[in-house]
């Protein structure tokens, strides 16, 4: 992490890494939200699928027993399709795409944390934010486990990532 000074590797004092078995929970939480809210089954895609540059990134913070961030990332067209699926054909504005993606992220994060035994009441969600644009980079200061699942919605990739601080 930091060079030029004495750094030491982790030894037997370390707790087993948290979150090692959480990827299936994240995948299931994602699939359930798409199925219940959008009425569609999504299939898992490989994370190496080319990602659409720019687009939309929704972010929800986790605080308390779990500290981290959940992000949902997709192209602008896909965000619009998600909004239409949630809100009907009247959903035609960028603002509604933002709201819809933010809500999806919120629900995936909430559904995921509900699946973790013992953390539900002790982990809370912040309010969602959404970044949209043609060119931006996203950098989280989370230093713990990070996991990603990519699903295909109307043949376009939607990336869901959990980055943990602890």
């Amino acid at each position: 992490m930091c060079c030029g000074k004495t750094m030491t590797p982790v030894t037997a004092f370390a707790k087993p890494s948290r979150g090692q078995n959480w990827l299936p929970l994240l995948e299931r939480a994602t699939q359930e939200v798409f199925e219940i809210m959008l009425g569609c089954q999504v299939t898992r895609a490989e994370p190496s699928e080319p990602k659409v540059p720019g687009g939309f990134t929704a972010i929800v913070g986790l605080a308390g027993a779990l500290c981290g961030v959940v992000t949902v990332c997709c192209g602008a067209k896909t965000a619009g399709q998600i909004a239409k699926a949630m809100l009907g054909d009247t959903a035609d504005s960028a603002g509604q795409a933002v709201d819809a993606l933010g809500e999806m992220c919120n629900m995936i994060a909430g559904n995921f944390k509900n699946k973790l035994t013992g953390t539900d009441e002790r982990c809370m969600l912040s309010v969602p934010s959404v970044i949209s644009g043609g060119e931006y980079r996203f950098h989280s200061l989370a230093q713990g486990n990070s996991m990603e699942t990519v699903v295909l919605f109307e043949d376009a990739p939607v990336s869901i990532r959990l980055q943990l601080q602890n």
């Binding site: 000074k5 982790v10 370390a14 230093q143």
Partner: protein, 128 residues
């Protein structure tokens, strides 16, 4: 004043640099700085370094600061080494937990070099 070896424990490399700088600005001469990005690394560092002072964050992955203080209390090599917490967590319960676990001081971020001096010099046994 004798030079000391400080162990700085924080998962943020930015904060580790700032803590080191603040120690120097507080007039504390550093022979060596040992860094660890979590409590587990810090415990390992204590096995192979002679350390005079530990400055430790609370919220860290793998092993947090409070658990580190509890574990360090059981380590022969850590006996007598003062631990001062430096953290964003400002609630009274966190302060109480840290001090109960064995920390000798508690500095809330943000902090000035004067605050570092105020909390660190007494535990090093130095006059301000």
């Amino acid at each position: 004043m004798d030079k000391i070896t400080a162990l700085i424990v924080d998962d943020s490399s930015v904060m580790r640099k700032i803590v080191e700088r603040s120690l120097r600005q507080a007039g504390i001469e550093l022979e060596k700085v040992v860094e660890a990005s979590n409590g587990a690394e810090a415990l390992t560092a204590l096995q192979s370094n002679v350390v005079d002072l530990i400055l430790c964050d609370i919220n860290m992955p793998v092993m947090d600061g409070l658990e580190f203080v509890r574990q360090a209390a059981k380590l022969e090599k850590a006996k007598g080494i003062p631990i001062v917490m430096i953290t964003t967590e400002g609630s009274e319960s966190h302060v109480v937990q840290a001090l109960t676990a064995g920390a000798r001081g508690y500095i809330r971020k943000p902090f000035t070099p004067d605050q570092v001096k105020e909390h660190v010099l007494p535990v090093l046994g130095k006059k301000q």
